[in-house]
């Protein structure tokens, strides 16, 4: 990742580095780096890794001053607290949060007390909020049909040779109906740029009361190669 590589040993390093990865396939790979000046770089892979599900791809921009101030305070406290580790329950993604030379290595479900808990309470919501500043990303739009929509000013290379599309009709937390399609939307990689949009097969035939949610798995190139990414539309009732 270029934004991580740019950080050489000569520089002061980021204010906070957050990396959530692993878990049952397709694994999480959610990266966020915030600098002291409030600029950030982020990569999102699995939409449901945080609630609500958000677009995937590359994001960059600036934190608002209030958020940055709170983050700086929490990061300072965590740095003074020292390293933190917890046992990883089977199936967990690993969440590594680094501040200076201090690191918390935790399961993604951890709720630590103290400074690291305070910091994670600041950082985790950013993984959703900052998707509002896309650089090269893709989202799902559910309306008459289902579309993949490019977000941001830069292109994102997508692998659409093996795509899975699902629909679930939810009523509360009961699945009233499910539908699945798998196939190729394009035999060759696609460079999705500004204005790019692609209609996705969505002939689900699900009817009746409930809330329809769409799920799409595809591949995206983060600059270091292909990753399997998962998108889904948010639910009105969480």
């Amino acid at each position: 990742l270029s934004f991580l590589r740019r950080r050489g040993s000569r520089g002061p390093g980021p204010l906070v580095s957050y990396r959530r990865h692993g878990g049952r396939p397709p694994p999480d790979r959610e990266l966020l780096e915030v600098s002291d000046d409030g600029s950030f770089s982020m990569w999102r892979t699995i939409a449901r890794a945080f609630d609500p599900p958000a677009p995937i791809g590359r994001f960059a921009g600036t934190l608002d001053p209030g958020a940055l101030e709170r983050l700086q305070a929490a990061a300072g406290d965590a740095a003074r607290a020292g390293d933190l580790t917890e046992e990883l329950p089977a199936g967990s993604a690993v969440e590594e949060t680094a501040v200076g030379k201090r690191t918390a290595t935790l399961p993604h479900t951890a709720s630590p007390n103290g400074p690291w808990g305070e910091l994670l309470g600041q950082v985790r919501p950013l993984l959703v909020e900052l998707t509002g500043q896309p650089r090269a990303a893709v989202g799902l739009r559910l309306g008459e049909g289902l579309q993949l929509v490019h977000l941001g000013a830069e292109p994102l290379r997508l692998g659409l040779g093996q795509v899975e599309v699902r629909a679930i009709l939810w009523e509360g937390y009961e699945q009233r109906g499910t539908w699945r399609w798998a196939g190729a939307l394009s035999p060759d990689p696609v460079d999705a740029g500004p204005g790019w949009m692609l209609e996705v097969p969505f002939e689900h035939g699900l009817e009746g009361a409930g809330e329809l949610v769409a799920y799409v798995d595809l591949m995206a190139d983060d600059g270091d190669g292909w990753l399997t990414c998962s998108l889904q539309t948010p639910r009105a009732t969480p």
Binding site: L1, L4, R5, R7, G8, S17, R19, H21, G22, G23, R24, P25, P26, P27, D28, R29, L31, I46, R48, A49, F50, D51, P52, P53, E87, L88, P89, A90, G91, S92, E96, A98, P107, H108, T109, G159, G161, Q162, E164, R166, I168, Y173, E174, Q175, A182, G183, A184, P189, V213, Y215, M219, D221, D224, G225, W226, L227, T228, Q232, R235, P238
Partner: protein, 484 residues
């Protein structure tokens, strides 16, 4: 002799060949030995019962107070088999079948198994008082070392006793009942994870019941869809029986019974659709039908079967990794390119980290050019790993770790990159404990389409329970068989 003494004669009903083959001449000395060992009364009961069997009469003792009428024809009465000698208190209990009479019995040993069970049944017709509870326990204990087996075969009666207040301790059931608390660590994707399984089991007449207590702890405003989740677990897991290979008519269903219990393993229940682990489940999980049974697998002590090195995969699954794509020529080409990228030379004038960076970039180019996603294997990447091992006698993932052995600049990107690339050439099973959701199109040719491979739960996942049955019954060879 010891075996015969421990086992009631009426338990040998199917062993007539052995009894029929016994030489008559040898009877007297062996009888004397028995008398010496266990006493006259036990031997007389033994002989009487054997005589009943040999004459084909039922083992149930006719009422002593009954009178045999002969019709007054003047013909001699038919010869009746000798009635076993019973102490009067036992005889009265068998006749009256009242708690008072049964409580008064000093020794239930001379009664047959059906008689003893019928006395227990009679006692448990109503609530048991202290004396009644003690009597019921004495009757069960009169089975001696056979008690666990008899209680297993008559588990409903055992439970009825406790419902009536017998307070029979589980310890009487021997290895027919037990508790397992399993803890160990597993390595997945290069990280150490804790696996913790807890369950209680009990072997009954037709099943081994596996009770898995789960302590659901819902977040505020959330309620756990317990019925739906337990339905997923039962419909996924309850398909196997422990079957005696030597006599396949002997079998016990492996019956998983998830239960909601404050004493069980804590599972946080959270709104939305997130990544579940063994300790947190999501009510809106879109793949809950697979996720919940998978996490349940951890709660009975099973390991993950994804992102494993070859040796771990073979150890965990007991099988070689699934076949690759079958495109050997294409995979050989990629394997060669991977080897060339990893073994790029290191110039004398450059830092080691510079060479590592160059190798990383070269490997990335190979993966990208061949549209191989990072982090988990595909049929194509499995084929590449196999061709690599054939050509170079090394595991590709090991060579990646060996050749990309230093952080060329940033710890985060280095570890992230290496884990992602190693994951491509590690192995993931398509069973429930691996990644059963992986359904590529076109279909993965390595995924078998018949037999056990179609089912997410594999025999290895339930083998610990057929072993528990084996340890309990102590005969035959019991294996898990998918039969329902």
């Amino acid at each position: 002799v010891n075996r015969d003494v421990q086992q009631k004669p009426d338990q040998q009903a199917d062993d007539k060949s052995r009894r029929g083959g016994r030489p008559a001449a040898g009877g007297a000395p062996r009888l004397a030995d028995l008398q010496h060992t266990v006493g006259n009364r036990a031997v007389s009961g033994l002989v009487a019962t054997m005589l009943q069997r040999d004459t084909g009469t039922p083992t149930t003792t006719p009422p002593v107070s009954g009178t045999t009428t002969t019709g007054g024809s003047g013909t001699p009465p038919p010869t009746t088999p000798p009635t076993p000698t019973r102490p009067p208190d036992l005889q009265r209990a068998l006749t009256d079948r009242t708690p008072e009479a049964i409580n008064a019995v000093r020794d239930f040993g001379p009664a047959t198994d059906p008689e003893r069970l019928s006395l227990i049944q009679a006692m448990c017709g109503g609530a048991l008082d202290t004396a009644g509870a003690a009597t019921v326990r004495r009757i069960w204990e009169s089975f001696g070392s056979r008690l666990p087996q008899v209680a297993s075969d008559n588990n409903t009666l055992w439970d009825q006793c406790n419902q009536r207040g017998a307070h029979l301790p589980d310890s009487l059931l021997g290895t027919g009942i037990g508790h397992r608390d399993i803890r160990y660590t597993e390595t997945v994707g290069g990280w150490q994870y804790g696996v913790h399984g807890i369950y209680d089991y009990r072997v009954v007449h037709d099943a081994i019941q596996v009770k898995v207590p789960i302590n659901f702890a819902p977040d505020s405003g959330v309620s756990a869809p317990v019925d739906t989740w337990f339905g997923y677990i039962r419909s996924t897991w309850n398909h196997y029986s422990a079957v005696n290979r030597d006599n396949p008519t002997e079998k016990k269903a492996i019956d998983f019974q998830p239960t909601q219990s404050g004493g069980g393993q804590r599972v946080q229940v959270t709104a939305g659709d997130g990544r579940a682990n063994a300790g947190r489940w999501y009510v809106g999980d879109s793949r809950a039908a697979n996720t919940i049974p998978h996490e349940f697998g951890h709660l009975i002590g099973l390991e993950d079967e994804y992102e494993l090195r070859h040796s771990d995969y073979v150890r965990v699954t007991g099988e070689e990794p699934q076949a690759g794509s079958g495109d050997r020529a294409g995979a050989q080409r990629i394997a060669t390119a991977m080897h060339d990228a990893l073994y790029q030379g290191e110039h004398w004038y450059e830092r080691h980290k510079t060479a590592v960076r160059r190798r990383m970039d070269a490997v990335t180019r190979v993966l990208t050019a061949n549209t191989i996603p990072r982090y988990y294997s595909t049929p194509q990447s499995r084929q590449v790993a196999q061709e690599y091992q054939r050509a170079y006698s090394h595991e590709l993932a090991d060579d990646i770790v060996r050749q990309i052995d230093a952080d060329p600049g940033d710890r985060g990107v280095f570890r992230d990159w290496r884990e992602g690339v190693c994951g491509v050439f590690e192995y993931t099973n398509t069973s429930l404990m691996g990644n059963p959701d992986y359904q590529p199109s076109p279909p993965d040719p390595s995924r078998a389409t018949a037999g056990h491979e179609q089912h997410a739960v594999q025999p290895r996942h339930v083998r610990q329970f057929s072993t528990l049955v084996q340890d309990f019954v102590r005969h035959g060879t019991w294996n898990p068989v998918e039969d329902h």
